[in-house]
């Protein structure tokens, strides 16, 4: 397509038609093979809201139970299930997934991309989330829901007689959902860094994308410690390995550390993306650019980092040294600085702009008021002496709901009203929105404000009833009424969202007169962006001349799909220079199958049906391999693609220049965090015990382990050699090196398992052998995955799909091996050397 013709009417129509054909959504039962971000984003968001309604219903049951003293509406056992499932579903099935869903839905349009880099990964994440969520929530209908509170403290939850199957459902169901969160994090980080429209330098990136970047990065460091905690707790529940059993050297506090290293950043993981919506909404209704763009970036980054230094403030009453408490108290106060900065930025933007009153802005204002109040009680609770008094009372319940409603629900509802026209082409009712807001605002405060007082009067959390004469009854009664008022308000929103609507907002699809790129996307068209624009300003619709028209008429990059492929542009990280034309995969059922098999693996493991578990794990592996084989590393039919405006970019990149390499790097960063959390457990036990590692017994099997470390290093070196030989063009050498790598890797795995096996370490006897086994199994599984990857490369080489020019696979596998080898060496060196040092 020559540039001279770009923009003529008949040419434009033909281009649009080709784009439509390529991006056509599958219909009928094939819809389940959908991967397009706009559809997956809708499903994701809608499913998250369905879980919100479920978890909200549980809350209403609790409030009905607590409305009057000595009530017997529900039993104590059911009440335990209610509060556990309420917290669990709200946190894991609503708050985090809704961030992922909304980001998948709006981020590509905001960045000027046609889709995210790995749409199939998004679809896989969605199916994992749906299956895991239904499994976990469904348990309550069989009286099998977890009962240990949303943070699952042992020893209550490791006692299989007291906690039943519910705790297993929690552990395995949520581990499965964590997979989908990490998948989304990988997708979103690569999306923000590499899929921005040309010219959108990092200083022009929409603030929402900045927040997404920070939050996705936080997921990589926050979720892995919990995965390790789940791993250890399930080993204890299923096989009686005593990680949290003090009688055999375990320690329940370790779980609290692992849980809250996840749990506190989690609070910010759900708060920041919602505040990010305000950063898009406030400038639109102030009709001016945000004041202090760089302050928001500072705030997001500062909060993201500091939030990792707060976890012990959930453990102030566990008897840790007061000096340690001081460190966490100080960091908890420090995080108020960046958190506050963004609030002032929003206020300043509104103060300097010409404010247009609207429903989204009303929700935004309510959010700020509530959040500030919750933040203030947070500053109180961050002071250890105050926390000693208020710990585990309703004061904490009040505080956390103020921050989460102010920081999460109200901004999100502002986002629902704001982005509804973007997502559906229709506007929600302003009138109903205002009614809903006031019902919810009043209902919310009526529910949670009295809880401060019930808490200060000593009412503990998680009690299913209370006596009449202790001064808690009126406060509880008001709270219960407030909860139902809030529910009525939310129903108004729900009805408004679901009711059939006819009217269209206006012709150009930008009903709020917003300035950011996403309002250009054509929602009727599944390709989204008609052409990938050149960005010169943060608010291009406001400040770039003829911008909307130029985009709609296809005057920028990739206005056509003449190769019959779904395409988008890959650009450089800092300055968004076009680097590659990415071919984006289309619909497939493989992602659905992979999620079903992986889900089955976790679900069968819950019931200890080990053969079915192994069979499902094998099917998952087979599905993932066929997904990789058919869907990735495609060799294009030509080297370069003409993207319009006289530019040509390559169609294939590998190594650090490719998005796949970055995805591997990011995934492995998360994996490394999990590994380091596991090693933290080893050293945690060392600090609390004088006989960990236990003298001479700790030195058994060290020759096997030392030998294994050498073998793994050699396997890594073979992989690296294979990559070098491949670049140098010796295909036979590549295959030989990979064969050697496979053999060395297998021997390394066998040797590392032989260490504890031949020294007859009994993992149920004491926490030391249990920890050694847990670490060895972890490393063995990672090394085995590395061996499968090497074998995959051998197969690709024989199939002629791994060559000196097309070498993406060997680069990514080598990168994996860098991490795997590092983990193995650190783990084995610790197991070998540490018992000799102490």
């Amino acid at each position: 397509m020559s540039d001279i013709h770009q923009g003529q009417a008949h040419v434009q129509d033909a281009q649009t038609e080709r784009l439509r054909e390529v991006w056509k959504n599958p219909v009928g039962w094939r819809r389940f093979s959908e991967v397009n971000n706009s559809v997956i984003g809708h499903w994701y968001t809608a499913t998250a809201f369905a879980f919100l309604i479920f978890a909200g219903g549980l809350a209403l049951l609790m409030r009905a139970q607590l409305a009057v003293p000595d009530n017997d509406l529900v039993t104590a056992q059911l009440y335990n299930q209610l509060f556990t499932m309420h917290g669990t579903a709200m946190m894991f099935l609503f708050a985090v997934p809704v961030f992922e869903g909304v980001a998948i839905l709006i981020l590509p349009a905001m960045l000027g991309a046609r889709d995210l880099p790995f749409p199939r990964l998004s679809a896989f994440g969605y199916w994992s989330f749906l299956i895991g969520g239904v499994f976990v929530c469904g348990s309550i209908f069989f009286n099998a829901a977890p009962t240990g509170g949303w943070f699952m403290y042992p020893p209550l939850t490791t006692d299989t007689r007291q906690s039943g199957i519910g705790a297993d459902i929690w552990l395995l169901g949520l581990s499965f959902i964590e997979v989908s969160s990490i998948a989304a994090a990988v997708e979103l980080i690569v999306g923000v860094l590499k899929f921005r429209a040309p010219g959108m330098n990092i200083n022009l990136t929409p603030l929402y994308a900045w927040y997404v970047l920070v939050v996705a990065g936080m997921i990589l460091f926050a979720f892995p410690p919990l995965i390790v905690g789940d791993y250890l707790m399930e080993l204890q529940r299923a096989f009686d390995w005593p990680f949290f059993d003090p009688k055999r050297g375990g320690d329940p506090l370790l779980w609290q550390h692992l849980f809250w290293i996840f749990g506190h950043p989690e609070v910010y993981i759900i708060f920041l993306p919602s505040i990010a919506l305000l950063a898009m909404i406030v400038p639109t209704f102030a009709q001016r650019p945000i004041v202090g763009y760089s302050w928001i970036v500072l705030s997001a980054l500062g909060t993201g980092f500091l939030s990792f230094g707060l976890w012990v403030h959930h453990m102030f009453t566990t008897g840790l040294p007061s000096l340690s408490l001081g460190f966490f108290s100080a960091a908890s106060e420090a995080v108020a600085i960046p958190t506050g900065a963004q609030i002032f930025v929003f206020i300043a933007t509104l103060a300097l702009g010409k404010v247009v009153s609207s429903t989204p802005l009303l929700f935004a204002a309510g959010a700020l008021a509530i959040f500030v109040f919750g933040g203030l009680t947070g500053v109180m609770l961050a002071l250890a002496p105050f926390d000693f008094q208020a710990h585990d009372t309703y004061f904490v319940v009040a505080h956390l709901h103020y921050t989460l409603f102010g920081g999460m629900i109200f901004p999100l509802l502002a986002g629902v009203y704001y982005y509804y026209p973007f997502a559906t082409g229709q506007k929600l009712s302003d009138h109903a929105g205002r009614v809903a807001f006031w019902l919810m605002f009043v209902g919310f405060n009526a529910t949670f404000l009295p809880m401060h007082f019930t808490g200060l009067r000593g009412m503990p959390r998680r009690v299913f009833t209370y006596p009449a004469d202790v001064g808690w009854d009126w406060f509880n009664f008001i709270s219960s009424i407030g909860a139902f008022v809030f529910a009525v308000g939310f129903s108004v929103v729900l009805i408004d969202v679901l009711r059939p609507k006819k009217q269209r907002p206006d012709a150009d699809g930008n009903p709020w007169n917003a300035g950011t790129l996403e309002w250009l996307a054509q929602r009727d068209e599944s390709f989204g962006m008609r052409t990938i624009p050149i960005i010169r300003h943060r608010y291009p619709i406001w400040y770039q001349k003829n911008f909307v028209q130029d985009v709609r008429e296809g005057r920028f990059y990739l206005p056509d799909a003449e190769d019959g492929r779904r395409e988008s542009l890959v650009t450089s990280v800092l300055d968004a220079e076009p680097e590659q034309c990415a071919r984006i995969p289309g619909p497939t059922f493989l992602t659905l199958f992979a999620a079903i098999f992986l889900g089955a693996t976790f679900i069968f493991a819950t019931y200890h049906w080990w053969i079915s578990t192994l069979a499902s794990a094998f099917l998952t592996l087979a599905t993932v391999l066929s997904w990789l084989w058919t869907g990735t590393g495609e060799i294009p039919e030509k080297q370069f693609r003409d993207i319009g405006l006289q530019r040509r970019v390559p169609l294939y990149r590998s190594g650090p220049a490719s998005t796949g390499w970055w995805a591997m790097f990011i995934t492995m960063t998360g994996d490394l965090t999990a590994f380091l959390s596991l090693m933290f457990c080893y050293f945690f036990y060392w600090t609390i015990h004088t006989d960990f590692p236990p003298g001479a017994d700790g030195r058994n099997g060290t020759y096997w382990l030392a030998g294994s470390a050498c073998l793994v290093i050699l396997a890594w070196a073979s992989t690296l050699l294979a990559r070098r030989l491949n670049t140098a063009g010796y295909p036979a050498g590549v295959r030989s090196a990979l064969y050697a790598g496979v053999a060395l890797g297998i021997l390394g795995v066998l040797a590392m398992l032989a260490g504890p096996w031949f020294s007859k370490m009994d993992p149920t006897a004491n926490v030391y052998p249990a920890t050694v086994w847990a670490i060895v199994i972890w490393v063995a599984v990672h090394t085995s995955v590395g061996v499968i990857m090497q074998a995959y490369c051998i197969a690709r080489a024989y199939a002629g799909r791994l060559t000196a020019r097309y070498d993406m696979e060997i680069w990514n596998v080598t990168l994996y091996w860098h991490f795997a080898c590092f983990s193995a060496v650190v783990a084995l060196a610790t197991l070998v050397a540490f018992p000799n040092l102490t």
């Binding site: 330098n201 007061s322 460190f327 600085i337 010169r536 450089s572 800092l574 220079e577 609390i688």
Partner: protein, 125 residues
């Protein structure tokens, strides 16, 4: 004179001050946790506190170094104005330098905050 694309201040440098905060935080926490858990009979925490002060000094010095070198970059920017709303590598460079500078300030506050308990709490209890 224009800046080459992808040169100058980058995202890794922007993250450096907060990374120093994190390392300082970990060092203080780990040192105190090990000492208090392994040697609960110790009453005099003076060596630990001195260690924390030393680590704090080093951390603040490192952040200050980044801060002052960033300040220099920022002052010697090529076109001398304070806005960075345009799609040029130079403005991106200056924007990242500005964020880094503010993160240096935040990190120093965070580091000093964490050192305060060591100044006033003298025992593990």
């Amino acid at each position: 004179m224009t800046r080459e694309t992808e040169t100058g201040h980058n995202l890794w440098r922007m993250l450096a001050p907060l990374t120093i905060w994190a390392l300082h935080f970990l060092a203080c926490y780990v040192a105190a946790a090990i000492l208090c858990a392994k040697y609960p009979q110790i009453t005099d925490l003076a060596p630990l506190r001195h260690l924390i002060f030393l680590v704090t000094f080093l951390a603040v010095a490192a952040v200050a170094y980044i801060g002052f070198s960033t300040l220099r970059i920022w002052r010697h920017s090529l076109d001398g104005d304070l806005d960075y709303d345009h799609d040029t590598p130079e403005e991106r460079h200056r924007f990242l330098a500005h964020v880094t500078l503010m993160l240096c300030a935040l990190s120093v506050i965070g580091i000093l905050y964490v050192a305060i308990p060591a100044a006033i709490i003298g025992s593990c209890r």
